[in-house]
Symmetry: C2
Subunit: 364 residues, 2 copies
């Protein structure tokens, strides 16, 4: 692999504003073949970077380490894999934590409202710069699945196959409510200060609480019942584990640990922008209604993968997506997996996901 | 009806502390018969008062107005209905917002840790004061179902029938995580100030956010999909509906409205105590394991009612409860209702609940 930065020269028109010379970070694995048609474009969920897998240059494990590499389901001996850090994120691509070249100041809330189609539109510039005119496949899970869908609708014919995992054709009110509440929790933290927090001292309390709510929506009740039941937490000395409302249960310690691991790793304003972009996503926007939007697709095949315990992108939305695709794509398969880890299953239940992903990439 | 206050004279031993002469508020409807055996004791969920239904003395609608009254499913021409405001609450019963008679100061966090069994133990004093030695039935929904179960286990023979609605034999980690996060959100509000907020200026931001999370856990994704879909909110002028992360969707306005209606109506510290009491509840505590605890029951019949879309007290927990009761009670029925309003269905889906409750009270 190598890590690259592509600069989009001049003005980049977003749905709701303009960026000047934004940069898109991406990593690649494997080799582009002579026909330049073996590339796989992968979009990420809200929080990961483009580092999907380790490599000689960067041997730190990637966020889908089990899935991408030589001999793995997305086999880098066969495919040229490109993973893009979303526009609006904070791992090399331009976002609210980047310097606005027009002012020399950090964008913060001067960054335009971000939409999923902006992420797709900025990514196509990378594909064009690589002189690729036919992608083997586009892949996305969670928010990345929304981006992959937008990409395929916006650029018909550029991509031959779509793999959508635990994603949706549009955001629905239960997920919107959860994400909206996460954003409000962050904005209510006085340290957020209208987005003007010191970049080295972000609103930790708001981010911790929002991340805990995120974890509740990413996993499942049945997983936690098996894993934690009513196990008590060992007492510790931090302020949340003493006093009359101290943490009592192991599940509370788990959330605390997960949330603390997240704080400081992701810029707060970037989080707000990406979170809202998911709420705003409705693929019907591309055609007046879902059916007309999907009619724009020109892909040869698609696979939709969903998990029965997912409460954020529920299995009904996976079914809807595969039915919409089925009307316009010849070869559509739908895998409904019984993983217990909810929305996060694609990141952790590798034994269930590996063969499903491998079967998609075994097809020619 | 009439509204009463029963004072428990002297020291009242809680599971984790002592109260001095606590008071229990309750309301009654109907007439106690000459055998004093037609009384129905109703325990409430976390937030309602004892005002379950309107009456000549107080014609404001009660929180279960459709269910209690002359000719209604719990027919006050036949039964003497008693509804208790839980110990630890703030509608007349002693709680963290009450004056500690020992110090003359508001208890605040000097109130001992509250357990569900304390609510049951304080309520039995009301029943004894009324000179009732055989209750027709004990009823509880949500937290009230936990209290009703504790009451029946603690006082075998005092009660003849149990009606448990959308409740549980113990709190499980998904619900614990949600409630724990609600409490942490409140405690992170600087206005909470370790429980020392001015009683007339409570931590509104923390309470608003916690209530929104509550509403998310009380309703269901399918209800909101039907009700709100992706409907946009009318723009308004408050600070949360302007700026780059303004409320966009109707579901967000709904949550805002619901949360604002709650603020100021419920004391924040009382909320924290009652919320934690639910997490701590495990009926296995009464006997070493669930089976031994349930073996203490001496009731003639029981009905368990649950809702398929409830994510806070899921239907599996209703099934578990009915199976546990089935081992020790001769006449147990289980009603699994298809209401779409989630945990709150018993408060709103009256067409489904009315006949189920009525059938329980039609039996002799």
């Amino acid at each position: 692999m190598s890590k690259f930065y592509h600069t989009i020269e001049g003005e980049f028109s977003m749905k709701k504003g303009i960026l000047h010379s934004p940069q898109i970070a991406y990593e690649t694995w494997g080799v582009l073949n002579s026909k330049r048609d073996n590339a796989v474009l992968i979009f990420t969920g809200l929080s990961p970077s483009a580092h999907i897998a380790s490599s000689v240059e960067d041997n730190s494990p990637g966020w889908w380490e089990d899935m991408v590499g030589p001999g793995k389901p997305i086999d880098t001996r066969q495919y040229f894999v490109i993973c893009v850090n979303s526009l609006g994120s904070c791992f090399g691509s331009t976002g609210a934590a980047s310097i606005n070249p027009e002012t020399g100041q950090v964008y913060r809330l001067d960054f335009p409202q971000l939409c999923i189609e902006d992420v797709a539109k900025s990514s196509v510039e990378v594909i064009r710069a690589l002189n690729i005119s036919s992608l083997y496949a586009t892949v996305g899970a969670s928010m990345g699945g929304m981006t992959a869908l937008a990409f395929c609708i916006l650029y018909p014919g550029l991509n031959r196959a779509l793999l959508s995992i635990s994603s949706a054709a549009r955001a629905l009110p239960f997920a919107i409510a959860l994400r909206s509440l996460q954003r409000e929790i962050i904005r209510e933290d006085p340290v957020w200060n209208g987005g003007l927090y010191p970049l080295d001292a972000p609103p930790a309390s708001g981010m911790r609480l929002a991340r805990k709510l995120g974890m509740i929506s990413y996993r499942s009740a049945s997983e936690w019942q098996t894993r934690f039941a009513r196990e008590r937490a060992p007492s510790s000395s931090d302020s949340n584990s003493t006093g009359p409302f101290q943490r009592s249960f192991e599940v509370e310690s788990y959330l605390e640990h997960q949330a603390n691991a997240f704080i400081g790793k992701f810029d707060t304003n970037c989080y707000l922008y990406l979170s809202q972009a998911m709420d705003l996503f409705d693929s019907a926007d591309f055609g007046g209604c879902l059916e007309q939007a999907f009619a724009k697709l020109k892909i040869e095949r698609a696979k939709v993968v969903g998990v029965t315990t997912d409460i954020l992108f529920p299995i009904q939305q996976q079914k809807e997506l595969s039915e919409l695709l089925g009307k316009v794509v010849n070869d559509v398969s739908f895998d409904c997996l019984e993983s217990v880890q909810g929305h996060d299953s694609f990141l952790v239940d590798m034994d269930r996901f590996r063969p499903v992903i491998a079967s998609f990439f075994a097809e020619k």
